[in-house]
């Protein structure tokens, strides 16, 4: 087995030495000192950072700061301190740099304290524990879907329907209990289904962030478990024309992905105008487990997006459009018509195993019936205005359409074969969201924002059956919020907020017997609050804590489901009297970023009253497909607790050890038992060796990692057809480097997952009933940044 690792290493070494010339390393340091321009005295607690990177720090009492592990390149460097004008300058880093800068006292607002924090609309609630994936760590996930990429963050698991459909799970909560913000807009697809993956192309993002706690205070309904932020880079400000190409190939499933981005900004009369276009093409064939191929597990994705922005110092407007299209094959033998067949399928040691010639003759990439297609469009228009005394006002409007079609394995029976290619289910969801946020200027060391938002949705179901899994519905919702922060010193932030929400929903249904239409209407309101604090002991060490509440209105599926849920063989019955889910969340974490040790340790507790779940009724429904056990949506009080531990130990200049743990414990308080489909504990560790320079290569790394997932033993009795699968241990390895082909810079890496080709099943994957998880895969990832017109450093924008 270690032969494979050796192969991977050799492959990496073969790929990398093609490289030539210049240095591009992520081991550089940028240090310096910052003083007051009036008297030259050092300034402490100046926030410094490189824009669009995670590199940031505060100056110490001597006014000094240090940013380590910086990649070579040109950055916008920002330094800000209360009462001083923000410094914003371009810095080109090719070797370890030391700089000395001075801040101008802010004469206009000398008596007012001006805190330049991150923009509130992106930050949400600052005191809730938040983790990010960006830069090289994000690069290593390129080609994966959003859910799988987010799994790199502690506290995040995935719930899957096969390897191609995965949804993020934050602290044990998923689907409608977490919110995904796609470029600032709440993603509205058909989240109620566990086999409905988020309709987002991860390539649009240069940063994926996860807010690990209840954030309803800022985002309203659904943000009970947390929020995923898919954030593109800021639009370029200085005249340029640049971009990046990403290529990913994988042996298992023969996946290939190509993604490109091109952006530019103009100068002279067009200063402030910028654009970005982006597109991704992704295709994969049948996945391979260690012992067999999974028939019809291919995928096809074609996504594109474009942004046009016009931004001046005090106002700006931008428009963003994105289109996401995917086609996903559903593993042929995962379709059981009834529970008896499901148990039969699970009893099989393996699904039908065809010879390779079968796949070659039918075509590896062809997707047959038993598939779903999703087309998601998003249009967002955003405008802001700033005024010295008043603050900043920002308005955002977005329209989304989500069209999902589900084609069952069974071809519909129809007269003249007219419906041979028809989908059994069509869901069409149209969402409009709007938001108006006012960030007021700091007043008596208090800064904050107030805002109003609204959402309206319309869902249309059409299908071949009489029975809609979810009914047609219309809803309107709105909220008002106020979030304020008090910064008495640079060391301490106290944050508090309140929000009030209202939601109206009406469903349109047919009486199945009389076929007469009828409607039902619900109204919900909720008040949420948050209180949190951050204390920065030193620039390296900080502690945050937050107590907040969240809420979620029951989904139309939970209210009105009536029928067999294909993926699980359950006859699901909704309850139109379900109440609002209410969560009370507490989270706290310690961040330490020293030279030897970087650590992020968080614990949380989340009490959810009226938690909605499927309860077995021990009765059966009979239809022409057979017998189905009935599960009813019911409410209980649930308690989630756990910890996220993330450590990075720089043992030597070259060697780093990085252990991580994601621990989740969930209990049903009302029935004194556990809850189903809660992720098992997960432990990761990685040992990495890095050379800043190795021969002609730069920033070379080799790492080996493993993931340990014990069996989930905390499950309620008699709640599942089969017990949770055994625990497993997986190994992975990667090599990578930066290099130049001629003058062209590029990053190359080779990653091997499931190195030992272990056959295993995962509790959080519905495929565990039928088949093993994918076996060994080797991925090649190439990133090629390019600049046709480089931003010039003499255009420094020092305001």
């Amino acid at each position: 087995m270690f032969l494979k690792l050796f192969c991977v290493l050799v492959l990496g070494i073969l790929v990398c030495p093609v490289a030539q010339a210049q240095q591009t390393a992520c081991t550089l340091t940028l240090s310096g000192s910052i003083g007051c321009a009036d008297d030259g005295k050092p300034l402490d607690f100046v926030a410094v950072g490189l824009l669009n990177t995670t590199k940031s720090a505060y100056t110490n009492k001597q006014g000094k700061f240090l940013l380590s592990s910086v990649c070579a390149g040109t950055y916008r460097f920002e330094a800000s301190l209360v009462g001083y004008k923000k410094l914003d300058t371009l810095i080109s880093i090719t070797a370890d740099e030391s700089i000395r800068l001075f801040l101008q006292p802010d004469s206009v607002h000398l008596k007012e304290v001006h805190v330049e924090g991150n923009k509130i609309e992106k930050q949400g609630v600052e005191t809730i524990t938040k983790s990010e994936l960006s830069g090289e760590a994000l690069q290593q996930t390129r080609g994966e879907n959003l859910g799988t990429a987010l799994k790199e963050i502690t506290g995040v698991d995935v719930i899957q329907t096969g390897a191609t459909i995965s949804k993020p799970v934050i602290h044990g909560l998923y689907s409608n209990r977490i919110l995904i913000l796609n470029n600032g807009v709440r993603q509205e697809g058909q989240q109620w289904g566990s086999e409905h993956a988020p309709e987002i192309d991860p390539f649009i993002a240069t940063k994926l962030s996860v807010i690990k706690g209840a954030a309803s205070i800022r985002y309203g309904s659904d943000a009970i478990g947390g929020v995923v932020l898919v954030e593109p880079a800021e639009m370029p400000k200085l005249k340029c024309l640049e971009g990046e190409i990403n290529l990913v190939g994988m042996d298992n499933s023969r996946l290939y992905t190509g993604s490109g981005i091109l952006q530019g900004a103009f100068d002279k009369k067009l200063t402030g105008l910028s654009f970005r276009i982006q597109g991704t093409d992704r295709q994969a064939g049948d996945l391979q487990t260690p012992n067999y191929i999974l028939d019809n597990t291919g995928l096809l994705e074609k996504n594109y997006s474009g942004t046009l922005a016009y931004e001046k110092e005090n106002y700006g407007i931008s428009a963003y459009y994105s289109h996401f299209y995917s086609e996903l094959g559903i593993f042929t033998y995962s379709e059981a018509s009834n529970p008896a067949q499901l148990v039969e399928l699970f009893a099989q040691a393996q699904p039908i195993n065809f010879p390779l010639s079968y796949y070659q003759s039918k075509g590896f990439y062809n997707i047959y019936r038993g598939y779903q297609t999703v087309a998601h469009n998003l249009l967002k228009v955003n405008a802001f205005a700033k005024h010295g005394k008043f603050g900043r006002l920002e308005a955002t409007f977005a329209r989304q359409t989500d069209a999902r079609q589900e084609f069952d394995l069974d071809v519909p029976y129809s007269l003249n074969h007219s419906l041979d290619n028809a989908a059994q289910n069509n869901f069409d969801l149209t969402t409009h969201t709007g938001e108006l946020v006012w960030e007021h200027n700091s007043f008596h060391k208090i800064s904050g924002s107030a805002g109003a938002d609204f959402i309206t949705e319309g869902n249309i179901y059409t299908g071949l059956g009489y029975q809609a899994l979810i009914p047609n519905y219309l809803n309107y919702g709105g909220g008002l919020f106020l979030i304020e922060k008090w910064n008495p010193t640079n060391k301490f932030t106290l944050e508090g907020g309140v929000r009030s929400d209202y939601k109206w929903q009406r469903e349109f249904m047919l009486n199945p017997i009389s076929l007469i239409e009828y409607t039902n209407t619900q109204q919900y309101d909720a008040t949420t609050a948050t209180l949190g604090a951050i204390y920065r002991f030193t620039p390296k060490l900080s502690l945050n804590a937050n107590a907040g509440s969240g809420w979620r209105a029951p989904s139309a599926f939970e209210l009105y489901a009536f029928g067999v849920h294909g993926a699980t063989g359950q006859f699901v019955v909704g309850d139109s009297l379900l109440k609002v889910e209410q969560s009370y969340n507490f989270c706290t974490s310690v961040h330490y970023s020293g030279e030897k040790i970087e650590a992020e340790l968080g614990v949380y507790a989340n009490l959810i009253n009226n938690y909605i779940y499927l309860k077995p009724t021990l009765t059966e429904h009979v239809n022409i497909d057979g017998y189905f056990p009935e599960f009813d949506f019911t409410q209980t009080n649930a308690f989630f607790k756990g910890a996220d531990l993330n450590l990075k130990w720089h043992i030597t200049k070259h060697l780093t050890y990085e252990p991580k743990a994601t621990l989740v414990f969930a209990n049903d308080l009302t029935n004194h038992t556990y809850l189903v489909y809660i992720p098992p504990q997960r432990f990761n560790q990685k040992l990495e060796y890095r050379w800043q320079k190795l021969g002609k290569l730069k920033n070379v790394f080799v790492n080996i990692g493993n993931m340990i997932v014990p069996q989930q033993t905390r499950v309620p009795p008699n709640s599942d057809f089969v017990p949770p699968p055994k625990g497993y241990v997986l190994f992975s390895a990667a090599v990578g480097c930066s290099m130049h082909l001629g003058k062209q810079e590029m990053n190359v890496s080779v990653i091997c997952n499931n190195l030992m080709n272990t056959a295993y099943r995962d509790y959080m994957d519905f495929f565990r009933y039928y088949a093993d998880e994918p076996g060994r895969s080797i991925q090649l990832k190439i990133r090629i940044p390019f600049q046709f017109i480089k931003p010039k450093s003499d255009q420094i924008n020092n305001n």
């Binding site: 033998y333 019936r369 405008a383 394995l409 349109f508 249904m509 067999v564």
Partner: protein
């Protein structure tokens, strides 16, 4: 200047909000519940009809039906009973019908249609015969029979028709039933849907239907 810009942005945001309200207050297709796509056929009724090869007037027909395919009502199994004579041979046919449209127009009398002078071409106009389509798709369909209770050892079903796969495989729309001793029990009839994977065995694929008949051998 700044103030003016701010006013413009403020007006713009109001305009956006107004547009939004305008869009959302237009026509609402959500309020109309779409009926099932026309032309789709539901499998609501499975009939099993047998004739004694030695006594042509000894026929038995069992009908299993669930006219509300959405599952709101339990299936009607009052006619889902087969009566055989012991030590006999029967030639049998499976019929599949869509009677879902009949719910709108009152009940049909398909049971009577199947009694003794059954004519497949003489169905009520609202009843669709899906059997012919299953015959057209025979290359990926297989009927499976499973006996439980006393008939488990006293009744056997043999499929007698073949598809056009290479090699040719059984289908099961036409069958022979052989009985031995007096007994009772249940016969499960399942139509397996096996695109690309039909191999003569019942395991692969999903079910188009899976129903039970009561059986008495006298």
């Amino acid at each position: 200047m700044k103030m003016r810009m701010f006013k413009i942005a403020g007006l713009a945001s109001i305009a956006i909000t107004a547009t939004v309200l305008g869009i959302t207050s237009c026509s609402k297709p959500e309020t109309v519940v779409s009926p099932p796509v026309p032309g789709n056929e539901f499998l609501t009724t499975v009939a099993f009809r047998c004739i004694n090869t030695a006594a042509p007037f000894d026929t038995t027909t069992a009908i299993w039906r669930n006219l509300n395919p959405n599952g709101t009502q339990a299936p009607d199994t009052s006619e889902a009973i087969l009566n055989f004579k012991k030590n006999s041979n029967y030639v049998c046919w499976v019929y599949i019908f869509d009677e879902s449209q009949t719910t709108k127009f009152g009940t049909t009398n398909l049971g009577a249609e199947l009694q003794p002078n059954f004519n497949i071409n003489n169905l009520p106009s609202t009843t669709v015969n899906v059997t012919t389509e299953i015959r057209q798709r025979q290359n990926y369909h297989l009927f499976c029979f499973n006996m439980t209770g006393g008939i488990a050892t006293n009744l056997s079903v043999t499929r007698t028709d073949y598809d056009t796969n290479t090699p040719s495989l059984q289908v099961g729309l036409n069958d022979n039933v052989t009985t031995i001793n007096v007994s009772t029990g249940r016969m499960e009839v399942a139509l397996h849907h096996q695109p690309n994977v039909k191999n003569g065995s019942c395991s692969p694929g999903s079910d188009d239907f899976d129903i039970f008949y009561g059986v008495t051998i006298q």
